[in-house]
């Protein structure tokens, strides 16, 4: 009976130490989310690449800049991962094509994603 009690105390102690250690090692982590975007390849001749636009509100026009607060060059890849997104926040995304003459298309249809509030769980598992 005494041994069982000691084991329980030991397990609780280990759990507390592990918890405190984990907390100290991650307390300064800035937890952010990401969004992985994919789209169909544009097969037109003279395509230079794609631009990804995103922001926290719907776009205000069908063509750039359209009110998005952020953009990124995706190169010729038809996928791009947007990082450093705030948990709990909904983001709106669109993509454009740019050709070698510097001409940019209007936006693709808009998609959205709400970043999970539990992004921090990914640091554990």
């Amino acid at each position: 009976m005494m041994a069982k009690k000691r084991i329980i105390v030991l397990v609780v102690l280990i759990a507390v130490v592990a918890g405190v250690t984990f907390w100290f090692s991650h307390k300064d982590d800035k937890v952010t989310g990401s969004a992985a975007l994919t789209w169909n390849q544009n097969t037109e001749a003279g395509l230079a690449g794609y631009k990804v636009y995103y922001g926290t509100s719907h776009r205000t026009a069908d063509c750039p800049p359209g009110g998005y607060g952020n953009s990124a060059n995706a190169g010729k890849n038809n996928k791009y991962t947007v990082t450093n997104l705030s948990p709990g926040q909904t983001y709106y995304f669109s993509v454009t094509s740019v050709n070698t003459a510097g001409k940019e298309s209007c936006f693709s249809p808009e998609m959205k994603k709400t970043i999970s509030r539990f992004e921090w769980l990914k640091n554990i598992f």
Binding site: V98, G102, K103, S105
Partner: protein
């Protein structure tokens, strides 16, 4: 009777729409593809010549490192094969300002141009790098005068001193207006930004032709300035009080004094399909137009 009124209405509408068009005046429609400029134009040794009405406004830069390199270029073109290249050499402040006289003295100007900022130069930009007399800006377009505080000025100004109510992005350069000595970035009361957080950051739009348009208007003792990029209204401002009554000169400037990390790099930008009119907005896709159509928008976007 109703039929007659209908036809008279249609005829009147047609007349007035034609009349509206006949009142519009286009002062400049320049794509740089027609004709050949004089050998010294605009800022090569012995400069001073005019081409299509454009003349060097600062002839003191005709033998400096940047001035002689300014001119027509086939490096990039929004339409046809040529554009105007504004060039500043590394470790130099000299470029070649282009002047155009507006002899009919309009009171409203729409200035629409396609601008191309190559990343090879502009990615070297850092806050504080674009500076004139520690003012952290580069003059880009002038009207009426480049030497005194009379006229409109469009300045390229970096984020560190870019006065926007929503914040000061670290890696930022955008256009900001000024009329006489009234500066958009120090006078909140006169400013309405369409996007108060970010304005328009050209550093996010390098290596592509940007359709940029400015509406400048003098009316009732006020000066009004609107800015459009790719057809979207970006900024609108109202300056109470103006010393001018009309426009007599437009200068496409490259007047620069780059300091800090950027000064050791060259700086190019290209201008094509410049149109100046008294009626607008001119919009994108007219006045020289593009020689290629934009690509199709991507399809099948998904996010995970």
């Amino acid at each position: 009777m109703a039929k007659k009124i209908f036809f008279i209405t249609i005829i009147c509408l047609g007349f007035f729409s034609l009349a509206q068009n006949s009142w519009a005046t286009t002062f400049v429609d320049e794509n740089w593809d027609t004709g050949n400029p004089p050998a010294a134009w605009p800022c090569k040794a012995g400069c001073g010549a005019s081409f299509d009405g454009w003349y060097p406004h600062n002839t003191d830069n005709c033998s400096s490192p940047g001035g002689p390199t300014c001119g027509l270029s086939t490096n990039y073109a929004n339409s046809g094969t040529k554009s105007f290249r504004m060039y500043r050499a590394a470790n130099s402040t000299d470029v070649c300002d282009l002047g155009y006289d507006l002899t009919s003295n309009p009171t409203t100007l729409y200035i629409r141009g396609y601008y191309y900022f190559p990343s090879a130069d502009w990615s070297n930009f850092a806050p504080g790098a674009a500076s004139e007399a520690n003012d952290t800006m580069v003059h880009f377009i002038f009207t009426n005068s480049a030497q005194s505080n009379t006229g409109f000025r469009i300045n390229m100004r970096d984020g560190s001193n870019f006065h926007l109510s929503g914040g000061e992005p670290a890696h930022y350069m955008g256009f900001l207006g000024q009329v006489d000595d009234q500066e958009l970035w120090t006078d909140d009361g006169r400013t309405v930004m369409a996007d108060p957080v970010n304005g328009y950051n050209i550093l996010n739009h390098l290596d592509q032709w940007l359709c940029v348009e400015f509406k400048m208007q003098i009316a009732g003792g006020h000066s009004y300035l609107n800015q459009y990029v790719n057809g979207n209204l970006i900024a609108s401002s109202d300056y109470a009080g103006t010393s001018q009554s009309n426009f007599n000169l437009m200068i496409q400037s490259g007047y620069t004094n780059m300091t800090s990390s950027w000064g050791t790099h060259s700086a190019n930008f290209y201008l094509d399909d410049l149109k100046i009119a008294d009626t607008g907005p001119i919009g994108c896709g007219s006045g020289g137009g593009g020689d290629t159509t934009p690509p199709a928008a991507p399809s099948g976007l998904s996010v995970g």
